[in-house]
């Protein structure tokens, strides 16, 4: 194929390609994984990333410590509020209470104490809502980074310079500014209400959650029961969302979610029963306290180690929690390859974000529940490490469980909807009965 006409020597001598600098750094050669993955520790980027990972993990622990420190100040604040109420009462008594207002001085004191209590409770609610919001930002970012690295990607890297830490915060601003689209055929009131019905129980369920040793927004004798029952309310919102969207896919997604959540609630609650039997209480603080201490001086007395019922109950609870939070492999309600986005298909903007926030709030809730019920709450894994405060252990355990959630999500495919039900009724439920029996046997033997 050599041309017949031989051209004269080119007069123009082309220089080497020059790449415009503004358009970005030009990588001279492409890097194959064959080069990247061998001798990874000799690459400065990899060493830097390892240091950064260690720093992030340390940062989480520091955050945990800060939460605990703040909690101490919280008690002081509560005392101060009560003292202020008493002081105001004294002052009022000294100056002579305006008669006819409330009459009895004791009722005045009660009213002042009630005001202090309301202030205190609203502060705690704010903290819990803050935790849920922060968790949404953190968990979405973490999930994106984790999934990216599991898939040899980098994930968000731009927003906020350092590994895209501000990505989710900016995303939420975007979601706030987005148009709130409602389908023309939708039942407007129900469509509007559904996200609220999903998110409110998620917030309420956090009331008795233990963040450290006796560190909770509300002390409830029936904490375990309360969490399990309140979190079940959200499914109504999901059905509402599916129904109100007037969309086939949404309706299918909503109904699937309802069936799934209601079914998996049963083994989930049964998986907690052994814990309640071991601890002899529904109070989360009591459950936490029952797991303190060590067998033989080094084996932690966590319920997950109470053979044989403990580990099985833990696994059942983990699986049922995955199903409850609609995550892979149980994300049938929002199976994107079948149902587009399930019940969330017709939602946009902040309404959609509320569904997302609720999902991650439930994930966090499940993680804290697993930490309290099975992983010893604030107890250290080794006696040597008991000097580290309980809230740090609690947070570390919850985050470890969240990692497991994400790890499973990015590994497993999705169940089919009938297999999901089969799995629940033919596998989970019988085993949850078995585990209760095993727990009884363990207690009898003890």
């Amino acid at each position: 194929m050599t041309p017949d006409i031989l051209p004269p020597e080119p007069k123009v001598l082309y220089p080497k390609p020059v790449y415009s600098k503004d358009a970005g750094l030009l990588l001279s050669s492409r890097v194959w994984p064959t080069e990247r993955w061998t001798a990874r520790w000799s690459q400065p980027e990899y060493r830097k990333a390892a240091v950064q990972l260690a720093a992030i993990l340390g940062g989480i622990l520091v955050c945990g410590a800060l939460i605990g420190e703040l909690a101490k100040w919280g008690d002081l604040l509560y005392k101060m509020l009560l003292a202020a109420a008493a002081y105001t009462h004294q002052q009022l008594l000294a100056r002579g209470i305006p008669s006819g207002l409330l009459g009895d001085p004791a009722r005045v004191l009660a009213a002042l104490n009630l005001t202090a209590e309301i202030l205190w409770v609203s502060l705690k609610i704010l903290i819990v809502v803050g935790i849920i919001n922060l968790n949404g930002l953190w968990a979405v970012w973490w999930e994106r980074k984790l999934s990216a690295h599991m898939q040899s990607r980098l994930g968000p890297m731009e927003a906020g310079r350092f590994h895209g830490w501000a990505q989710t915060a900016l995303d939420s601003i975007k979601l706030l500014l987005k148009e709130d689209a409602t389908p023309a055929d939708a039942d407007r009131a129900v469509h509007l209400l559904a996200p609220a019905v999903v998110i409110v129980p998620a917030i309420l369920a956090f009331a008795p959650v233990l963040f450290g040793k006796e560190l909770a927004a509300a002390k409830l004798d029936v904490g375990a029961l309360y969490i399990l029952s309140v979190s079940g309310v959200s499914v109504i919102g999901i059905i509402m969302a599916g129904w109100a969207s007037s969309n086939k896919f949404s309706l299918l997604g909503g109904l699937r979610a309802a069936a799934q959540v209601v079914s998996y609630e049963i083994p989930r609650i049964f998986a907690v029963v052994p814990v309640l039997m071991f601890a002899g209480s529904l109070d989360l603080a009591a459950i936490d306290a029952a797991q303190q201490g060590y067998w033989l001086g080094f084996l932690p007395r966590w319920f997950v180690f109470w053979l044989p019922a403990g580990p099985i109950a833990f696994l059942l609870f983990l699986i049922a929690s995955l199903a409850e939070t609609n995550r892979v492999p149980f994300d049938i309600p929002e199976a994107e390859s079948e149902l587009v986005a399930g019940f969330m298909t017709e939602y946009s903007g902040m309404k959609w974000a509320l569904f997302f926030l609720a999902e991650y709030a439930y994930v966090l809730l499940a993680c804290f529940m697993m930490a309290v019920f099975f992983l010893g709450g604030g107890a250290a894994p080794l006696p040597l490490l008991s000097f580290i405060p309980s809230w740090i252990w609690m947070l570390a355990k919850a985050m470890a469980m969240m990692f497991v959630f994400m790890w499973l999500r990015w590994t497993l495919p999705r169940f089919r909807v009938d297999q999901l039900m089969d799995f629940n009724w033919k596998f989970m439920l019988p085993w949850s009965f078995v585990v209760v029996a095993l727990a009884g046997a363990t207690l009898a033997w003890l």
Partner: protein
């Protein structure tokens, strides 16, 4: 035997239709596509449901029709090779090869040995790339996202190799009438070997991650079963046919480009379920690795283009049919020449088009949740279906 199967099929479906209580359930019509996330392109499947059970499935194709077979009549033979790139765009090398083999039959020329071996290497690498895309997207269809990006990581390396070789990553126009476009360099061969050694452990990873995952097995085993007789009756080819246990592979039955010299096996499925079709492709990737290694080891030296193939070839009047084992099955091209500079007629037997037709048969009676699993396992490329 074929007629019996067809007869049984029609009577059975008629009997079912009669037995179903008309009016008891509302018939629901669901449109899957053309913009549905798992139709792999622009395919529309009209599904008629009774509850969650499919009573009728109608694949509706043609959204990507570009009239390539007609366009070829106004192009010179060399230019037609460019058109073939656009059929099965995820594995374009076998398309090029099919047309070139047909044209070479008309011209009565044979590509030199080195070109033949290069053709084999490129087609087998493309088979790996295509099956990797299938593996990844099938994982996504069933909810597993990670295998997709893992598969694309490896596919990207093959595309890099192609870019080094011919400058294009998707529409290669590499295989030419009478030979190939460019030669491989020693660096290319080294890179290709590097890829193959990297790729073999990855195949095990896919098996760990997806193939033998119990959830994946539950979703694909005993789903979308195509019995061997039915597969033959519907004219399936490629992994879809071999998944049903029928040992038909053009590379073995009608060898071209010296495939008879290579030592490889044709993996077969047992029952013809979605999983068998899936795993057939996984095993084929292993065989392709073997073929590429053998071809690289015994690469003959010589010319790249046969002598006597002009820039404007005018084959003598006549007709020719050539078929190759493309990534999706038996790709056949029938060309007629009237002695002019352009083909008088070109017809394509596109495997995706033929394979897609069985969808209306195997979807009936399944639950709607299985549609995605079955559709994905057929592994169609709409560019080839519509042409």
């Amino acid at each position: 035997m074929t007629k019996e199967v067809l007869h049984k099929r029609t009577t059975a479906s008629a009997g079912e239709a009669a037995a179903s209580p008309a009016g008891k359930f509302d018939q629901l019509f669901v449109n899957l596509g053309p913009q549905h996330p798992s139709t792999h392109g622009v395919l529309r499947v009209g599904l008629t449901l009774e509850g969650e059970v499919i009573t009728k499935a109608e694949p509706d194709i043609g959204y990507l029709h570009r009239g390539t077979m007609k366009l070829a009549e106004a192009r010179s033979w060399h230019q037609c090779v460019v058109l073939t790139d656009r059929w099965d765009y995820v594995s374009a090398m076998p398309n090029n090869l099919a047309l070139c083999l047909a044209a070479e039959k008309l011209l009565a020329v044979q590509a030199p040995d080195r070109a033949q071996s290069l053709r084999v290497i490129m087609c087998e690498l493309n088979r790996i790339a295509s099956h990797l895309l299938f593996l990844g997207t099938y994982g996504i269809d069933l909810g597993a996202f990670t295998p997709f990006l893992h598969a694309f990581r490896e596919r990207e390396m093959i595309l890099d190799l192609y870019e080094m070789l011919c400058g294009a990553r998707l529409t290669y126009n590499y295989i030419r009438i009478g030979g190939v476009m460019s030669d491989i360099s020693p660096e290319w061969a080294a890179k290709a070997r590097e890829f193959l050694t990297f790729f073999k452990p990855r195949l095990q990873e896919y098996d760990d991650l997806l193939s033998f995952n119990p959830i994946f097995l539950a979703r694909t085993e005993e789903v979308g079963v195509i019995p061997q007789a039915l597969a033959v009756a519907w004219g399936l080819s490629g992994p879809n046919l071999r998944g049903s246990g029928a040992a038909y592979d053009v590379r073995k039955s009608d060898p071209y480009c010296g495939y008879e010299k290579f030592d490889f096996e044709v993996p077969l499925g047992k029952t013809g379920s979605c999983w068998d079709r899936y795993y057939c492709r996984c095993l084929e990737m292993r065989q392709s690795v073997r073929i590429v290694e053998q071809a690289l080891d015994g690469l003959p030296s010589g010319d790249l283009l046969a002598k006597g193939v002009a820039k404007n070839v005018k084959p003598p009047p006549g007709e020719a049919y050539a078929h190759v084992e493309a990534s999706r099955g038996d790709l056949g091209i029938y060309v007629v020449s009237d002695g002019g500079p352009a083909p008088y007629r070109m017809h394509v037997r596109a495997p995706s088009f033929v394979n897609l037709a069985i969808l209306q048969e195997i979807l009936v009676g399944r639950k709607i949740a299985d549609v995605v699993a079955i559709l994905g396992s057929i592994d169609i490329v709409l560019g080839e279906t519509d042409r």
